[in-house]
Subunit: 236 residues, 2 copies
């Protein structure tokens, strides 16, 4: 039997997590939506969109500032001068955009926060297309982390991954049916005024709308032809 | 064969973690010692002691400020007005001093930091007397968290728990042999000018020196007779 839960939703302001917010708002009681500002180039573009959707749905929104990540951690996603590589995600080019153990840190904090406000679950928009090159996106990590949060909290807080079997295109379709205005979501890692249209996350965004046969509402700096897709890599 | 590792040590400034710092300094290469200021009543007493020992050993020391914990999380350890209970740790009285999922959060951040500075291990002074009432001190949590950090980092960062089979008294003895000046460590959760001598952590501190047959170098506000020890609770 399906049970409505009191949940915290991790909402970055990207298309997947915003769709997860709408999904959780329908399926559960969203106690709080949580965004993290860890000083990346695109946080200042994403978080206002997260706030916009929370306000639209009447969901309380909290932003947790993780200043230490910018000060201490090494990643091109965080350094003001680091170059974000173009094209599809690939091991050599994307490894430099890793924020070390980011998902572990965000999930831990969200788990503690969920416990402190007596929520039972933590919704994260992990999906079938998450990248095997990021170790903290892989299935074995997510299972261990879910165990740690369940075992390490009095309330046995659960991680819920409603989109784990969906592709990004399927999430776009699902979000569209839930009424998500995707023009108010952000993907581009470069964090400029407009989506660049050419970095790894922009390419995936464009492909998701194309595969879902949805009009892409995004304004891109450049609309170059989508590159050929590399052979899929197992996320297992 | 024993292998020297590049490690990060979690040092709160309490007697266990300071002893772990000296132990790791002998056994490994301590790249950085890490303290967390999460706004608890005793952080401002502990952290200067952590810094003192790091300076003595020539180990770099970093303090990560986690302001959000004080702002968002609910715990009597964090609230300025919350009363810290006296006497031995017990379920009813100590549950209110829980910082939700504290060890999960601190270990995750330390794991990401270890990866960012290319350390291979993370030393934490978890020991046989850690309290089963705190879910994030239990063995099953620690194993899941260690899996999550190993699986979620490129370098497969390991959690090292050199004291996991020692009691607090045995740690005191071990630290004494390593030259630790325990007068420069802090235990009391009340965080006053002197150790109160009567809260749960002060009682444990006093018992540890007594059981280790070491002179207790601590100045206490009150030196009431130690209360009778409750029946030991399994930490498994």
């Amino acid at each position: 039997m399906f049970v409505r839960k009191k949940v915290v939703v991790l909402v970055s302001g990207g298309m997947d997590s915003v769709a997860a917010l709408y999904d959780a708002h329908r399926e559960h009681q969203v106690v709080v939506a949580l965004s993290f500002d860890y000083g990346s180039k695109h946080n200042h573009r994403e978080i206002p969109f997260a706030a916009w959707h929370c306000q639209k749905l009447g969901v309380p929104h909290r932003v947790i500032a993780l200043g230490f990540m910018g000060e201490l951690f090494k990643s091109d996603l965080l350094k003001p001068g680091g170059a974000i590589p173009d094209g599809h995600y690939e091991e050599q080019s994307m490894k430099q955009t890793v924020v070390p153990f980011r998902n572990g840190i965000l999930l831990s904090i969200a788990g503690g926060y969920a416990e402190s406000i007596e929520a039972q679950g933590l919704v994260i928009a992990a999906h079938a297309g998450d990248h095997a090159i990021y170790p903290d996106c892989r299935e074995d990590f997510m299972r261990a982390m879910a165990d740690a949060i369940r075992l390490g909290t009095y309330a046995r807080v659960e991680i819920l991954r409603p989109f784990i079997h969906l592709t990004k295109a399927q999430i776009a379709g699902h979000g569209h049916r839930l009424g998500v205005d995707f023009s108010r979501t952000w993907s581009c890692y470069k964090g400029g005024d407009l989506h660049c249209g050419t970095c790894g996350t922009c390419v995936e965004r464009r492909e998701a709308f194309q595969e879902a046969r949805l009009a892409d509402p995004t304004s891109y700096v450049a609309q170059t032809p989508l590159p050929p897709r590399p052979t899929p890599v197992s996320t297992g």
